[in-house]
């Protein structure tokens, strides 16, 4: 509104004599200019957005209905064959189960441990930089670096994990090669590597809790434990919901550390869906079939996201 008035005065017409007709014309000109400049400003983003997000997204959907391979053969439409094959494919199902299992196993500690770490650090002990460094630094490492460090930690004969467990009498375990332990080992690595992000979000939320609430409750004789239970934890509710939602969506997309540490093994017990998409697409070179699995995966992500939104809106309503 105010910019329309300014435009009118900028053209030199004194506001007093501006007729309704002129205002409308000015408004029209402003609109045309906004249109031109607006599209000019968004154009660069729209170009890369369409070329490298929307187009592949649409083309992938098309590919999922073809038998396309890297040689360019089999590019014709084959209807729902890929999807039918995927639903009968035990490896696809197993990879979905692995992904869900990893999500369950990783989300719970990644939220709870992050909360505990943030509460402990927020007490304000000396050496704040050191605590932050310890818990947040791993998050800044490339997945490759984190994975290589932990492959070495988990080495059955030479790794630190078995060495330390050996000190308390535990027999050496081949963490990444043993089907019962491989997924747990990957989850521990993931916790170490990524908890810093959730920790940071919690720490920020803790610092935003109004101090008066603690002072008032202290006057009423509430101890620290009581304050934690009745003020801090409830105040962190919305943050916890957001962190949990983001964590579930992030965990569902797991690939890097599993691919590097176990290659999906042993016997496929850790292979996540993204790895299966990758294998079908880039070792089997079946672009059509890989796309179909990718879209099944995408559908699950959307369903989970919508489910989470429903759950949280009902809760706050």
């Amino acid at each position: 509104m105010s910019s329309a008035a300014l435009d009118a005065s900028a053209t030199g017409a004194p506001p007093r004599t501006t007729s309704a007709e002129e205002v409308r014309r000015g408004e029209k000109e402003r609109k045309a200019r906004d249109n031109r400049i607006g599209w000019a400003f968004v154009a660069p983003f729209v170009v890369v957005f369409v070329m490298f997000l929307i187009w592949p997204f649409v083309h992938g959907f098309y590919l999922s209905f073809t038998g396309e391979s890297i040689t360019g053969a089999g590019g014709q439409l084959i209807g729902f064959d890929n999807y039918a094959e995927a639903l009968r494919d035990p490896i696809m199902w197993r990879s979905l189960l692995n992904t869900l299992w990893f999500t369950v196993l990783s989300t719970v500690p990644l939220v709870l441990v992050a909360l505990v770490l943030a509460l402990l650090v927020h007490q304000g002990l000396p050496g704040q930089w050191l605590w932050r460094l310890s818990f947040f630094m791993p998050f800044l490492l490339a997945s490759t670096v984190a994975a290589q460090i932990w492959i070495w930690m988990y080495n059955p004969q030479l790794g630190l994990v078995n060495y330390m467990l050996g000190a308390v009498g535990v027999e050496p375990i081949a963490w990444l090669q043993d089907p019962t332990w491989a997924m747990i080992a990957v989850v521990v690595e993931t916790l170490w590597w990524t908890v810093g992000f959730n920790f940071l979000l919690y720490l920020t939320a803790l610092q935003n809790i109004p101090e008066q609430q603690f002072e008032a409750s202290a006057l009423d004789g509430a101890g620290r434990w009581r304050q934690l239970r009745s003020i801090t934890i409830p105040q962190l509710g919305p943050t916890t919901v957001l962190i949990a939602i983001l964590q579930v969506l992030a965990s569902l997309k797991v690939f890097d550390q599993i691919y590097m540490m176990t290659q999906g093994g042993p016997g496929g017990v850790t292979r996540p869906t993204v790895q299966y998409i990758f294998e079908v697409g880039f070792t089997g070179y079946r672009f059509g079939y890989a796309s179909a699995i990718a879209y099944i995966f995408f559908a699950i992500i959307v369903i989970v996201a919508i489910g989470q939104m429903r759950l949280t809106t009902r809760r706050s309503a």
């Binding site: 592949p56 927020h122 490339a142 490759t144 004969q157 890097d256 990718a294």
Partner: protein, 307 residues
């Protein structure tokens, strides 16, 4: 008393000092606050947890300074019998490709960050200030696209790069990584809070939109631009899946992708593998040590919108 959004150690300390004084006034015993069993337990827990988080780093560094014989010796020990050595580093730097991979990572990451910043800031400004046709549906389309995981796009993107003949070029690494719809959202929210009066004044003086954007809006937005750049930079620096797919030529590999090949190339050379990992981690660790506060603040700003 208010605490700031930024996690500043001093602010936290001040809060606690003041809380201590307050407790004194309220007639609470200081001793209870600072030496209760609960508090001691909390301190012990914090120290143990920090040790657990630092231990893998320490172990990696110690291994990297061992000879290969010492690294592969049982029983495991922290101090090698033949002493510490920098052999692993010399061999990795002389025989490996780490400098080349670092260079590739640097070139592509800087390009990704700059292009992302320019295209997202321009778009976010338009969404914030200019009432152009289709603005609403375009904006909502961009927001909705945040749900699309990059992992879903790997096959069609690879196909597209084949068609464009860009596989095994820097462009194949750069272009798909400059699309950050969430950053458009974050920047638009920030621009919405920049007072429009400042711009109006400049526009009366005849400055065009681009001029206003460049010399008024951008300088005012430095903190958020820094946060977005940092988020994009670190994400691109560490990205694995797409660069892994888009490059087969060893001379174009980025640091994370190249490092993945080290394990197989060196066989059982544990000290050299750890030396490579330490070298690869070093740039970000150093940057983090210098800019800890800014980086933490940046992630706190972009965090919820960025994932």
């Amino acid at each position: 008393m208010t605490t700031t959004v930024t996690p500043q150690p001093q602010a936290v300390g001040a809060v606690h000092r003041q809380r201590g004084r307050f407790a004194e006034k309220a007639g609470l015993r200081i001793g209870e606050r600072f030496a209760s069993p609960g508090r001691i337990g909390a301190i012990v827990a914090l120290v143990l947890l920090a040790a657990f988080w630092l231990l893998p780093f320490l172990w990696a560094v110690v291994t990297s300074f061992k000879s290969e014989t010492a690294a592969a010796a049982t029983p495991v020990s922290w101090v090698p019998s033949d002493g510490f050595t920098t052999d692993a580093y010399t061999r990795v730097l002389r025989e490996g490709n780490i400098p080349l991979w670092t260079w590739n990572s640097l070139i592509t990451t800087v390009a990704i960050t700059l292009i992302t910043l320019v295209v997202t800031a321009l778009a976010a400004y338009a969404f914030s200030r200019l009432d152009f046709t289709g603005r609403r549906w375009l904006f909502w389309g961009i927001i909705a696209s945040i749900i699309i995981p990059p992992q879903v796009l790997i096959v069609p993107l690879f196909y597209e790069m084949l068609t464009l003949n860009l596989i095994d070029t820097y462009w194949a690494l750069i272009l798909p990584q400059v699309v950050h719809p969430a950053m458009v959202f974050i920047l638009k929210k920030f621009f919405d809070q920049v007072p429009i009066e400042l711009e109006d004044a400049a526009r009366i003086d005849g400055a065009g939109r681009l001029r206003v954007f460049w010399s008024i809006v951008l300088p005012l937005s430095r903190p958020i631009l820094a946060a977005v750049s940092m988020f994009v930079f670190i994400g691109a620096w560490n990205n694995f899946l797409w660069p892994f797919i888009a490059t087969s030529d060893a001379s174009l590999m980025t640091l994370p992708v190249g490092l993945q090949t080290v394990k197989s190339a060196y066989g059982l050379q544990y000290a050299q593998v750890m030396a490579s990992a330490v070298l690869a981690a070093l740039p970000l660790v150093v940057v983090f040590l210098f800019f800890q506060r800014q980086i933490i603040k940046g992630f706190a700003t972009t965090g919820f919108g960025g994932q």
